[in-house]
Amino acid sequence: MSSVKHCFVQNGGIKALSDVPCLAFSEFQQYILDAVAQEWRVCSFFGMEMENADNRTGQPLRLIAVLANEAEKRLAVMTTQIEKHFPSFTTAIPQFHMFEREIAEQWGVTPVGHPWLRPARFHESYRKGTDIWPGLPQELFRIEGGEAHEVAVGPIHAGVIEPGHFRFQCHGEKVFHLEISLGYQHRGIEKTLFGGPHKRTAYQMEALAGDTTIGHFLAYCQAMEALQGVKVPPRAHALRAVGLELERLANHTGDLGALGGDVGYLPTSSYCGRIRGDFLNMTALICGSRLGRGFISPRGVRFDLDTPERLEKLCQALARAEKDSNTAIQLLWDSPTVMNRFENTGRVSKETCLALGLVGPTARACGALRDIRHDFPLGHYQTAKFPTEPRHESMTGDVAARALVRWHEMHDSLRFLQELLPNLPAGGIASSATKAAPPLRPNSLVVSLVEGWRGEICHTAITDAKGHFSRYKVVDPSFHNWIALGMALRNQEISDFPLCNKSFNLSYCGFDL
């Protein structure tokens, strides 16, 4: 890919908006097609309104694409401008499918030729009167035939779980197709960010997905620090990594336990339910909140491991949780009945994974080595190379592989924390800049990536001439990965749905925003 007509960016680096070229659509299209052919993938693709336009309706829409290439370790941003329609990329490049549905819903423009153009979240267009689905709700995909039947699940599910609607097209027990229809948790977060940051913005960024509080808020802080020119001290970077890895450990433990529960194997499920809480309590030991609310700030972190006692307590808790999780989770691999249910269930092939642009442990379980900590490291991960070995290459893409990847990642995180905690960098925990937040640099763009426990979190911030957000775009890993659950269920028995679902454990609110 030639670098003439797009612009390379760094994770957490700032770019003047004028350095990002705006291509004619045909050029833009050709660049994207060429790039994806050369193994670039889509991190984010979204619309924003052109600035200084008096008449909001009917004005052109700017489309921005953020692409990544792990092999070259490069991020690129490209933009173009469209009117009311643009030719859809989805048929040629399936990983655009949900981004185009989102753009259509948010801005009332039509990606022409999109194979399945339905609303992503069921809300009105940001531009009044431009909705392209005036007669909501829309029909779901349906298979016709005497022996085909459909099963509808949700939005109210059986457990303590967020709402979403699942529609299965079945033949007997066999699932031909699963369509996932979300939007029930839509709180309108992105819409409130225009003209931000506002007083509530930081708190909403912590609540994009409660189980990924640190991951999402770290992405926001990285973007803000780039825009404000704030330098974060090394100790704060290290403590942020501690928070992020504890979040990963808690969620991976909980999910491995729940996978045991879904195949009726109770020892692992009951132990892991508790051990997950032990990891959450470690975060609470540092900052008072089990989910890490208020732990970090756009200047550093707000809480320090200030005393030797606190550090010692954390190290001891970590050692105990490691021992407990080792015995609890080892039971899974030692139990033939469990492995029999995990293996060859809910398989997603590497080809499917690459075509759909999957991220995180889901992608790694298919053998696609994508990890922000390794490919686009920022903060503490720049200095301490995260131990992400390319050992997952033979991963089979089934429930067993997704479970095993989580287990490997737990070991990586535990080892990382055990090495880091006794050697935390000395010094302050927050930038010594004046307490009042510095203004954001105007007319700039920042792409901020974090490897959350579900995978790549991508925040893109663009400021206007006054230094306010003219667009702030959030992509939760679930946005890429929900379709993988649908693919995993094809030709599976419907009774395997809970097991497959838990092996991904995707976020409803992170998708719905």
């Binding site: 967020e162 409660g210 809480g277 008072g288």
Partner: protein, 249 residues
């Protein structure tokens, strides 16, 4: 089999003794705020200005609406004279919305309803209605062996038809409103509603956004309010136990 037994031995017994014994609470937990009215400087607006959810009220007295408070601690940090402090006291559940507005005299915690109909068996259906999954996480852990909710006769069940009430989280999004209300209708009477978290009580950090309904408070009668963002599991457990008269003090 032997491996399972060995693991069982290694894991040990790990259920907390609450309410018989005081729970172990992290020292940095931001729980019940303590207001020292006498220290508050006249004319100072620092806490009111910084609060992201307009939870601080300053008429004659300095008060905090815990139904709106997200326990971020920004007010305590902003106050030049430390008139607001967050203790790590996790007991916050109240029976009436107005009891969430606390001043210097502290909090009036929930008490057992006068007509107790759900003594030793209480089943709840949980509905997440725009919750960020934070409150759900801390409700879910109550069913783990650490808190072991079922030893009190309280269970979280799959069907509203099998339940005695709803535990509601989230600001009630527009897209979930009808499903939430229909779920309530499916619960046989008499029935309870428990609102968990700032979102369910007041809309929290999403208050007044058009995509939501400022919580369940204006839509259904609520029997127990458990504030927090999210509340600590002990806060939720304590609230539920007050509902069945197992905790009174």
């Amino acid at each position: 089999m032997l491996k399972i037994l060995a693991a069982r031995l290694q894991q040990g017994f790990r259920t907390v003794d609450y309410p018989e014994e005081a729970p172990v609470i992290p020292d940095r937990l931001r729980g019940l705020p303590v207001i020292r009215e006498e220290q508050c400087r006249k004319g100072c607006q620092a806490c009111i200005e910084i609060c992201p959810t307009n939870a601080i009220i300053r008429d004659n007295d300095l008060q905090i609406d815990l139904g709106r408070c997200i326990f971020c601690g920004a007010c305590a940090e902003a106050c030049p004279v430390k008139a607001i402090n967050f203790s790590n006291d996790p007991c916050l559940a109240v029976s009436k919305r107005e009891d969430l507005i606390i001043g210097k005299s502290g909090i009036k915690l929930a008490t057992e309803p006068e007509q107790q109909i759900f003594g030793r068996s209480l089943q709840f259906r949980q509905v997440s209605s725009g919750g960020c999954n934070g409150c759900e996480v801390d409700i879910n852990v109550l069913t783990t062996i650490v808190f072991d909710l079922s030893r009190f006769g309280i269970k979280i069940v799959a069907s509203p038809r099998h339940s005695d009430g709803l535990i509601i989280t989230g600001p009630i999004t527009r897209n979930m409103k009808s499903a939430t209300l229909e779920t309530f209708e499916a619960v046989p009477t008499p029935r309870l509603v428990v609102a968990v978290g700032a979102c369910a009580i007041s809309g929290g950090i999403f208050r007044d956004q058009t995509e939501q309904n400022n919580g369940i408070t204006g839509l259904l009668p609520v029997d127990l309010f458990i504030p927090g963002c999210p509340p600590h599991p002990i806060t939720i457990l304590d609230g539920l136990l007050r509902l069945i008269g197992r905790v009174n003090s």
